[in-house]
Amino acid sequence: MTIGETTTTSILYLNGVSVSFDGFRAINNLSLVLEPGEMRAIIGPNGAGKTTMMDIITGKTRPDAGEVFFDGKVDLTKHDESEIAMLGIGRKFQKPTVFESHTVEDNLVLALAGPRNAIPALFHRQTKTERERIDAILQTIRLAARRSEPAAALSHGQKQWLEIGMLLAQDPKLLLVDEPVAGMTDAETEETARLLREIAQTRSVIVVEHDMQFVRELDVKVTCLHEGTVLAEGSLDQVSGDNRVIEVYLGR
């Protein structure tokens, strides 16, 4: 009964999820609940299943068992990637993935919420609201000066930001952000933490990251995954004080 209640009020609800690849259990009886408006940091050693969990939420991988519900009622295991994106889940890949031969601005234009079919795109004219939205996002991700350059010309860190900007343009309810500060300088990392905190004021966010300093700056509840299941959950201090977490992840 309590489970039923959580299902209907939470933005994301994973219960007893498992998936195996050729007999190897990448996700093992994983349960996780995210409240609307919550930001959650996920940590855990390499191969813990963090990316695979995102694959399951976004429809790239089908779980062998378990429930995955979005926004209280939507069974995500019954939808594919495009449908899930349209339901309002955006995703930043671990390896920054942008449209390299398009300009920074066009990357945002394509991400902008709106019709997704061929024919409307043929006759699409950019509206004033769309232009303003693009300008605002370019300011937010600090790429306004480079708007007409091809995305391929950006640094690794800037590509990360552009991809976050694309998520903003997509305007999802839930953002899944996989290792956003990999390859960033300390200043950029700090900036990214600020940006994500800002984003989290209006949306739910899951951030996967290895950078503990960054996780500390986010200042949110932390879940530690290990071997495809939740090892510990709570404030960063609680989790990093947990003996098992120290053993498998943080090191003694």
């Binding site: 495009s82 994106a85 997704r116």
Partner: protein, 384 residues
């Protein structure tokens, strides 16, 4: 809406190309018909037919470039769509022969009489109407591409696997059309055409008109393709080429984006084939040969894929070279073609147009740097 869409494709280079094509559509008939044969400016019949044929090849290459250059779908079966358009036109031309065939049968084409057929197969009905044949020129290749693409893109077949099945498609069609009982004239194909829309197909005026139609069809193809790739849809094509999964997670269905381009491209190829057949006077199953499709890829690569002008230049140049080569050293042509493709891949990966653009950009940047620096304000040298 359509005109606004088409206007979106206009830019300087496209305008020049369109102007050249339209000028050719007027000038070549004039030089052929109005200038006396004694004048050095006179355009002989064989040249009109030859250049007309090249223009249909250029349209075919442009069609391939739409899917390969802009969307990354390396189709090795585009000649199949070209040939199907050609067969649809050929069937109309066969019906125009009427009772003037060798057997003088008013109801059946010669090859059917020869095979002892008693009545016209159902799929030949309607082809005595020009409008119906023209519809089929577009519908048959378009429908085949749609069905093929529906399954292939939905199953997420990409890259070399997709190329191989397109090649298999054209090969299978070739085998089918070689069979006499398919009802398309077997290995002889369709030929001995007499007239088109009531005009003698051999007449100078008809040849000129066919040339002009080819030039205008290519111009229209250029305009549509250019508008398409400059629209938001065109950006989606490139996005599907570069990062398909990124697109999916933004909520797009890359398979639908590709399917639209693939179908449109097949229709363009079909129109090219339909213009080709009356100018060469024959269509046979050899047009489905896998090598034909590969040649189209070579033209496009040589000219520069992912550009509008590249495939056109490539088709004209390589075929010009082929006409010369097959006259001088016929047995070496395929080797020359292979060498050309390898050389392009190694030395001009972006083709002639790509190399030209790169060179031009470099020059402009150098000139720009040279002209800005001395004139720049010496007081305000930027920090770092």
């Amino acid at each position: 809406m359509i005109s606004r869409f088409l206007a979106g494709g206009l830019e300087r280079r496209i305008n020049i190309l369109l102007a050249i094509l339209i000028a050719a559509a007027v000038l070549v008939p004039v030089l052929h018909l109005a200038v006396p044969a004694s004048s050095p400016l006179h355009m002989p019949t064989y040249a009109v037919a030859l250049f007309g044929k090249y223009l249909t090849y250029a349209l075919l290459a442009l069609a391939l470039d739409l899917v390969w250059g802009f969307c990354g779908i390396l189709s090795l079966g585009h000649a199949a769509f070209f040939a199907l358009g050609g067969y649809a036109m050929g069937m109309y031309l066969m019906r125009q022969i009427g009772a003037r065939g060798v057997y003088g049968n008013p109801d059946l084409p010669d090859f059917m009489v020869f095979l002892n057929w008693k009545e016209l197969p159902w799929f030949w009905h309607g082809f005595d109407h020009f409008w119906f044949a023209m519809l089929m020129v577009m519908v048959v290749p378009g429908l085949l591409a749609f069905v093929f693409g529906w399954f292939a893109f939905r199953s997420r077949v990409t890259g070399v696997y997709l190329s191989i099945i397109t090649q298999a498609l054209t090969y299978a069609l070739m085998l089918a059309f070689f069979r006499n009982n398919m009802g398309f004239g077997g290995n002889n194909g369709l030929t001995d055409f007499k007239d088109i829309l009531g005009f003698n197909i051999q007449a100078d005026a008809t040849r000129s008109a066919l040339f002009a139609a080819s030039a205008l069809a290519l111009a229209l193809g250029v305009l549509v393709t250019s508008a398409l790739v400059r629209s938001k849809y065109g950006k989606l094509l490139i996005a599907a080429r570069d990062a398909e999964s990124r697109m999916r997670f933004l909520g797009y269905r890359p398979e639908n984006i590709k399917l639209f381009a693939f179908t449109l491209s097949a229709i363009m190829a079909g129109i090219a084939g339909a213009l080709y057949v009356p100018q060469v006077g024959i269509i046979n199953p050899g047009e489905f040969a896998p090598a034909n499709s590969i040649e189209v890829v070579v033209w496009t690569a040589v000219g520069g894929r992912g550009t509008i002008i590249g495939p056109i230049i490539g088709a004209l140049m390589v075929n010009g070279g082929k006409s010369w080569f097959t006259g001088a050293l016929p047995e070496l042509w395929l080797f020359a073609l292979g060498a050309l493709f390898i050389a392009t891949t190694l030395f001009l990966p972006k083709g002639i147009v790509g190399a030209w653009e790169g060179w031009w950009k470099q020059r402009r940047e150098r000139d720009g740097a040279a002209s800005v620096l001395p004139a720049g304000n010496p007081v305000e040298s930027p920090a770092e």
